[in-house]
């Protein structure tokens, strides 16, 4: 490897790290002229599930339905909808499943509280274990 080649390789790698490829699916023609609205649209799109490829957001997905949903989100924003009104619009047609961040409700409580409950159970178990161990050590000390 010549030093020149090495240097240019490093440069390419550094540039790739500094400016990663844009991974979202938004087509330049979709972008709104109003930067605040566009920012809100991007934000909403990131939280809406693409229903064709279910583990992607509509912001990531190249599916035609995702594109049409992105355009719809932008259209609603231009018409003056708040972010919540846009979410409600989509949820009223596709259900909560379309939200990548499930809402806190009675049916989703276990989803949100579950991890905390398990951590708590583990912590209590750990506490009991250490308490018993120190108790055992104390009794051993007394036996001496």
């Amino acid at each position: 490897m010549t030093p020149a080649f090495f240097r240019s390789s490093c440069l390419v790698i550094a540039l790739l790290i500094l400016f990663p490829f844009n991974t979202n699916a938004v087509d330049p023609s979709e972008i709104l002229r109003n930067p605040t609205l566009e920012k809100r649209a991007r934000h909403i799109s990131k939280d809406l599930r693409c229903l064709v490829c279910q583990n992607q957001s509509i912001d990531d997905s190249d599916a035609p339905l995702a594109r049409d949903l992105r355009l719809l989100v932008r259209e609603r924003l231009i018409q003056g909808d708040t972010d919540n009104e846009v979410f409600d619009y989509v949820v009223s047609r596709y259900g909560d499943f379309v939200l990548l961040r499930p809402p806190v409700k009675a049916v989703t409580a276990i989803l949100w509280l579950g991890p905390a409950i398990f951590v708590l159970i583990g912590f209590i178990g750990l506490l009991r274990y250490f308490r018993r161990q120190t108790a055992d050590e104390n009794s051993e000390d007394q036996n001496k």
């Binding site: 229903l51 064709v52 279910q54 035609p64 339905l65 049409d68 949903l69 355009l71 719809l72 989509v90 949820v91 009223s92 047609r93 596709y94 259900g95 909560d96 499943f97």
Partner: protein
């Protein structure tokens, strides 16, 4: 007594495993529709090329109807088409079509010309507005609408002869009595 406590994690794991195993058998594409027993959301679609009237939610009032989302690109729609033709020939129920995401405005009409048109009205839906109104994720999907324009039944995927006879047709007959 304390020994029982040791088995608790195992019991929790078993319960969790049962739920997760049950989840494996479910089809994640088969979503329950939130629109059941709700009125059809407002939508308005232009006619497909060669026809004068499109389709809007107001066309679905006054009688029990079947709404069918299709596309000439969709294999299952082609398979479903023969049954829809039979339904329309026998005048069982008016079928309203939403021609979804055609690559251009010629292929849909051409498809219907070649295979026959079972639809009373067809709306052209290149921007998915009709499909989104019905919460559609893939074609074909069909909805039974009662005479008040309320969505009463959703079927994802192709209606087979079997589903028609055992599910869809009885629902339509039932709704007509109301």
């Amino acid at each position: 007594m304390k020994k029982i406590f040791y088995f608790l994690p195992l019991v929790i794991l078993a319960i969790l495993a049962i739920y997760l195993i049950m989840g494996l058998g479910r089809n994640p594409q088969d979503l329950p529709s939130v629109l059941i027993n709700k009125p059809v959301p407002a939508f308005e679609l232009a006619p497909i090329k060669g026809q004068t009237k499109g389709l809007s939610n107001l066309d679905l009032l006054g009688q029990v109807t079947l709404v069918n989302i299709f596309g000439s690109w969709c294999e299952a729609c082609r398979l479903e088409h023969d049954l829809l033709m039979k339904i329309s020939k026998n005048n069982l129920v008016p079928i309203y079509g939403i021609d979804w995401q055609e690559p251009n405005n010629l292929v849909g009409p051409r498809w219907l010309k070649r295979l026959g048109n079972p639809y009373t009205l067809v709306g052209d839906d290149p921007k998915s507005r009709g499909a989104i109104a019905f919460g559609v994720t893939k074609a074909p999907e069909s909805f039974v609408i009662d005479k008040n324009g309320v969505i009463r039944f959703k079927h994802t995927g192709r209606i087979t002869e079997n589903t028609w006879n055992n599910t869809v047709w009885p629902i339509i007959k039932d709704l007509r009595k109301q």
